[in-house]
């Protein structure tokens, strides 16, 4: 409830910038900026390495950094749970994966934390940060998140919540519907984060989503649904924070559609020439979320040329170091092919002893 006095004040004074309304300190904003630029620069380096023939496969977060970092900052990073998808590089950086670890995964190195080089880059999994292991099948992750939500409700009284991530194409799979329904029925502490970049490889939104309005689907489940500008990390943060608070209070799930853009082809194996026009792509480039946030911070005196240069220099060094480290790191060995299909007898015994 806003008091009448406040409302009048609001009328006269110009609306404060969003970060102030959200109570975000300059420090936090610069932290966000760091991750957004880091994600972009790591991603760009991966493409270079791919073109140089050093990395077989790249799948990008470019165009979705703001959505991912805004979301990460809206969660309780030290304790909440995550079921990401292959574009969530920005999220993973906020959750503690280092540039070195990202590059190790690009090169499928043995010490790569997601899978020990068994999976393609972007197939995240990071137990120590409560990030479930993810595979390639699109859409399955929503049900895993709902299962985590059930455990968080029953074992942890919603003190820990879970966020599930996917593209708009992933919502076409039946699993997404089954997850939405179950989360709604049991008021589970789950955030459904849809990073809508308007394409599923080549398939445009019109051929993917009946009604073309994902946020509107939430109402059918008796669940709040919101659509936000996925190019503005602060709007994403705001929506996630509100949804996270409600989830923790036991008020159940929320669907958040973040309207993003895809600044690259689907992956390094794709060529978008056949299905996207130059104009379409150029228009997206004009809306680059990294440039947007940089401009926003300059505009509000939080960032200046000097500071900006420092941040970028630091990031360039990190990216360089990560690349060099990963390129020379040892590859997995054939002998380990058969490992970890099942728990070993020792692992079973240890598990039983803890029951």
């Amino acid at each position: 409830m806003v008091s009448t006095a406040k409302r009048h004040a609001a009328k006269d004074a110009p609306a404060p910038p969003l970060h102030e309304a959200l109570g975000l300190s300059a420090e936090t904003l610069l932290d966000m900026y760091y991750y957004i630029v880091l994600a972009r620069k790591l991603d760009e380096r991966m493409w270079q390495l791919n073109r140089q023939g050093k990395a077989a496969f790249v799948i990008s977060c470019q165009g979705q950094e703001a959505a991912q970092i805004g979301t990460a900052f809206g969660m309780a990073r030290e304790k909440d749970w995550y079921v990401p998808y292959y574009r969530d590089l920005g999220l993973m950086l906020c959750l503690g994966q280092t540039p070195r670890q990202i590059m190790l995964s690009l090169f499928a190195r043995a010490e790569e934390p997601n899978s020990g080089g068994r999976q393609m880059p972007g197939h995240y999994g990071f137990h120590k940060s409560h990030v479930l292991t993810t595979g390639s099948p699109v859409g399955t992750q929503f049900l895993h998140a709902v299962g985590v939500g059930l455990a968080n409700k029953l074992m942890r009284q919603n003190a820990e919540i879970v966020a599930a991530f996917g593209g708009e194409g992933a919502t076409s799979e039946g699993d997404w519907h089954e997850a939405m329904n179950f989360a709604a029925i049991h008021k589970l502490p789950v955030l459904f984060i849809i990073e809508n970049n308007h394409y599923a490889i080549s398939v445009p939104l019109e051929l993917q989503v009946g009604g073309q309005n994902l946020a509107a689907r939430a109402a059918g489940y008796g669940m709040p649904g919101v659509a936000v500008n996925g190019l503005n990390p602060l709007e994403c943060y705001q929506a996630v924070k509100a949804a996270a608070d409600r989830a923790r209070a036991g008020d159940g799930p929320t669907l958040i559609e973040m309207k993003c853009i895809r600044l690259t082809a689907h992956s390094s194996d794709d060529n978008d020439r056949t299905y996207r026009t130059k104009e379409d792509k150029e228009a997206d480039r004009q809306r680059d979320p990294v440039a947007f946030f940089q401009h926003y911070l300059h505009e509000h005196g939080i960032l200046d040329e000097a500071k900006d240069a420092l941040v970028r220099k630091r990031i360039d060094e990190e990216v360089e170091d990560a690349t060099n480290y990963a390129e020379t790191a040892p590859a997995p060995v054939a002998e380990d092919l058969m490992k970890h299909v099942y728990a070993t007898p020792e692992e079973v015994a240890e598990w039983r002893s803890k029951l």
């Binding site: 749970w81 079921v83 934390p113 997601n114 899978s115 020990g116 068994r118 999976q119 197939h123 999994g125 990071f126 137990h127 479930l132 292991t133 595979g135 099948p137 399955t140 929503f142 049900l143 895993h144 998140a145 709902v146 299962g147 985590v148 939500g149 059930l150 455990a151 968080n152 029953l154 074992m155 879970v162 039946g174 699993d175 089954e178 997850a179 329904n181 179950f182 029925i185 490992k339 970890h340 299909v341 099942y342 728990a343 692992e347 079973v348 598990w351 039983r352 029951l355």
Partner: protein
């Protein structure tokens, strides 16, 4: 020690585990107040409450997917698929996801979860309440597939499954629920997963089977015993990963191998057993590796005549045993 039916032993095992482990939850369609359509979880909803015995929506992918997420986050879910025939919508979640958490994460994640489902025919269930599905899942590394043949092993294997850190599929022959009886000790015991068992010793031939077909093989062996033909029977118990050693040892001894399964013949799990024997015990074989199986039709028709024609039964098994013994 008391004589119990298969379904009673399974119910006891589930109840004891629920009492022991508060992280265990049971969920599926109609498992709550209804106690499941076969009554396996009868009374559980009252005893353990709606938070631990959850009626899910009608969605099998949901049941499997939620089991995955809940076990990853620290619970020990035991899910029920109402009929094995209806596990197919969950195929992707089980085969592409559950089976791979440990492998694809290089041991960073694993899933202590169980999915139970009644399988099998001869109970007038028609095309979609009669099927055997073990071959589909036995083929998938990362899954443990179990089919108990009797009350004692059912209870012990189920407890082992619930206390295992990898996903276990536990299939129970619905026709055996009340038909198959046996001694079951009270209280806690475990029957280890991953082992076949010689359930009857014999000299003249080896019959390999599981679930209801194991029961039929025992009946058939009794009949042949009257003619002095002794059949050694191997109860597979754990379909996958398969304990080939126990099967091979028996076949090397008897020199003859019959595999019996209720599933469609082509590509049924018995094909893997026959192939393994033909590969590793060839020098010991004194006769062909015969199979008694369901035919290659989609599933069992509802009408009596065609259902009976589909089911492998004691009579068909006896005939095959005699044929093989004659070599």
């Amino acid at each position: 020690m008391a004589v119990k039916t298969l379904i009673e032993a399974i119910r006891d095992g589930l109840r004891e585990e629920m009492e022991r482990d508060e992280r265990m939850i049971i969920f599926g369609e109609d498992v709550g107040p209804r106690g499941g359509v076969f009554g396996v979880t009868e009374g559980f909803s009252k005893q353990f409450g709606a938070d631990r015995v959850i009626d899910t929506p009608l969605a099998e992918a949901l049941i499997a997917g939620v089991a995955i997420g809940a076990s990853a986050a620290g619970m020990h879910p035991v899910a029920e698929i109402q009929f094995a025939d209806f596990i197919m919508p969950a195929f992707d979640q089980i085969v592409s996801e559950a089976s791979r958490f440990r492998y694809r994460s290089n041991n960073d994640w694993f899933l202590p979860m169980v999915i139970r489902a009644p399988y099998g025919g001869g109970i007038h269930g028609a095309l979609y309440h009669s099927q055997s599905v073990e071959a589909l899942f036995g083929h998938v590394p990362g899954l443990i597939v179990v089919i108990p043949s009797n009350p004692y092993d059912a209870k012990g294997l189920l407890k082992a499954a619930i206390r295992h850190p990898d996903p276990v599929l536990f299939f129970e022959h619905k026709g055996g629920y009340r038909l198959i009886k046996g001694d079951v000790p009270d209280g806690d015991y475990i029957v280890e997963l991953g082992k076949c068992k010689v359930s009857r010793a014999g000299q003249h031939l080896t019959a390999v089977a599981w679930g209801m077909m194991h029961y039929r093989c025992l009946e058939a062996a009794e009949i042949l015993a009257q003619d002095g033909i002794t059949v050694e029977i191997v109860d597979v118990q754990t379909i996958s990963p398969l304990d080939r050693a126990t099967i091979l040892d028996s076949v090397k001894k008897t020199g003859k191998c019959l595999v019996v399964y209720e599933d469609n013949r082509s590509g049924g799990w018995g094909a893997e057993i026959a192939a393994s024997v033909a590969e590793a015990a060839f020098e010991y074989l004194d006769g062909p590796i015969l199979r008694v199986t369901g035919p290659d039709v989609p599933a069992m028709p509802y009408n009596h005549a065609q259902e009976a024609a589909f089911m492998p039964n004691t009579e068909k098994i006896v005939a095959a045993m005699r044929e093989l013994a004659a070599y």
